[in-house]
Amino acid sequence: MLKKLPFIFSVFILLFYACNAEDSVSASATEAQHWFTNNVTSENFEVLNYIKDIEWSKSIVSSGDKGEIIEVPFTVQSNLKTKVGEQNYISFHRLLLKKSGNSFTYNHVQILTQNQDFDNSNKDFNFYQITDNFDGIVLVVNQNKEAVQFSDFKNSLINESSSTNKMAFDRCVYMGWLYENGDFEALMLVGCFGGGGGSLPNESDNGYPPHVGSGGSKGGVSAPTPAQIAEALQRQIDGSKLDACPQTVLEALKNSKNCDIANVFTKLGVNKVYNLKLVSGYPIGGIPASTTRTYSNVAFDYTITISKDYTSATSLFRASNMLHEIVHAYFMSLKDDQTNGGGSAVYGEFPVLFQAYCDSKYPPNKNEAANAHHEEMANQYVNAIALALQEYNLPNDPNKLVPYQVYSDLAWAGLSEAPVFDEHFKGKEEEKERVLNRYRCESNGSVVEAGSPKQQNPIGKPCTK
């Protein structure tokens, strides 16, 4: 027994120091954990929706000129991936906390690499230094979902070779689901970046520096512009489950030169990428098209159903239905934004969604009537859709002989459920009839109210199958 004493003593000493060292780490980390657990929810930090496990015991504490930084590795649900441009990366995640008064600022760090052996709990890879031979991207997103750092490293130095104008557009970072068949479904657009890296928008928040002697942070890093978001959203629209003709219509709308769906999004002020798919099916009530949530408990994911009925409709009718529903989905995303994804009983009520759209530009003001901007917003909606329809129909009307009014009438018909429709056409019965009859005749590809002053002839081509 006596012989074993030195060994037992050594083990005890080792354990003692190990515990003390752990304690010195955990003192700050424990405080951060306590604060974070009690103050941060998925409502103010969206990534919490997707977290599987926060590894507080592996917290990394580092100190330097920007004070003490606590990094906590966490894992996300297994099929949640990050995609940069067209490239898939293995993503490692950390919470990044820094004490500020009695609370903490918190960010989400994503370390994106193709090195499967990267050790996310390595204390030598931290806010103030990175390890040797690191190839990959460090992306830091703050609680407002703004990217505050995007650094692309090659051999632990900032990768300047990626600094091209083309990359500025292609390097949009998405988080989303990767399905077994390889399909990637983006849940959120993190940001679009150009060049090898840089900082945004408050440089004092930056960390993860390149090794000494690097080229430094270069390249135009910027938050995505509205046009980039609109483009990204347009790319997200999945029409693969549509019947042949509507699928062709959707592709044509997406590929219009001057006034595509992205252009409609830009005009209406879209500022977020969400999931949107169009399918052929049978909406309730026998209507031409409808929009719903795709899954229960998942916000920002919508499905548009284009009716398999209306078998005599023109392709212009289908195009107007699609644009109308695509805008509905956007209105739903506004409502999801306002309610942090909680939604409300408004989904079946277009007027409330239209109000959400108006409120997005003109927040409610007690000195103004709720409908103060309805007419202006309706005109914005109608113009955006009408121009897209006009361009869609250009192959059938290359000289633009069809009056713009035909397209704006189709767009107005989409608003017939909103109070603004009756407000706009109050005392204008003839115009109202013209709008309704335009929609009618395109819905079945036939002349309506033939021989009467209200007669309207379809201008769209049949959309069969």
């Binding site: 049978y282 026998g286 719903t292 939604g343 079946g348 036939s446 109210e449």
Partner: protein
């Protein structure tokens, strides 16, 4: 094992018995009374002709609107219907809904999914000026769009679609009652009406809107 089988058989018998009993508590007249009472409430102007969709609307749609967009679990959140439509609890009762669904779900295929092969007759409804038109004609599935009667209908005429009432939880009758005006592109405000007989008169218990946005 034997015990389980006996329990299962007892459960099945009690379920069947409950359904039979439920059917028995209403007579045939109730199904028409409930529709007509609601119809008269909704159609204010009885002088003008209205259009009624000739086919009885499909009970599957009634069940779907009543349930909401997604199948519900018994412990679903109280605000389920705020998000996904459907009847609110406690009106929505899982067991009663399952019984109703098993009894009335229609597996047949029709020309369009919103209809059945049963039709309304003039004698079923207590309004004088009714024109019956097939839903199929409206959605141009049978006429290649050259249906002159449809194409020359005047705008702003009332169009109504009705389903045969079905029994829910032994004490309610529920049915689709959809109303819109021409030009007709389906019922954008489809809804299900829940009614209960109180002192020999049918009273509206709830009206459940479609959860789809159109």
């Amino acid at each position: 094992m034997k015990k389980n089988i006996i329990l299962l058989v007892t459960f099945f018998c009690s379920l069947t018995y409950a359904q039979k009993k439920a059917t028995a508590i209403f007579d045939n007249q109730d199904f028409y009374q409930v529709i007509n009472q609601y119809l008269k409430l909704q159609v204010k102007d009885k002088a003008n002709e209205i259009i009624v969709i000739k086919e009885k609307l499909n009970p599957n749609v009634t069940l779907q609107i009543f349930q909401g967009q997604f199948p519900r679990s018994e412990n679903d959140k109280l605000d389920y219907n705020e998000l996904y439509g459907g009847a609110k609890r406690p009106l929505f009762n899982d067991r009663a809904f399952t019984i109703m669904k098993n009894k009335y779900h229609d597996d047949k295929k029709y020309a369009i999914s919103n209809i059945t092969d049963e039709q309304w007759n003039k004698t079923d409804l207590d309004l004088d000026k009714i024109k019956f038109i097939s839903f199929v004609r409206f959605v141009a599935n049978s006429n290649k769009g050259d249906d002159s009667e449809i194409n020359n209908l005047r705008n702003n005429t009332l169009v109504i679609g009705l389903s045969q009432p079905i029994i829910y939880d032994k004490k309610y009758l529920i049915f689709q009652f959809n109303i819109t005006t021409t030009p007709f592109f389906g019922f954008s405000n489809a809804k299900v009406v829940v009614m209960q007989k109180v002192k020999n008169k049918w009273a509206v218990v709830d009206e459940i809107s479609n959860y789809e946005l159109n």
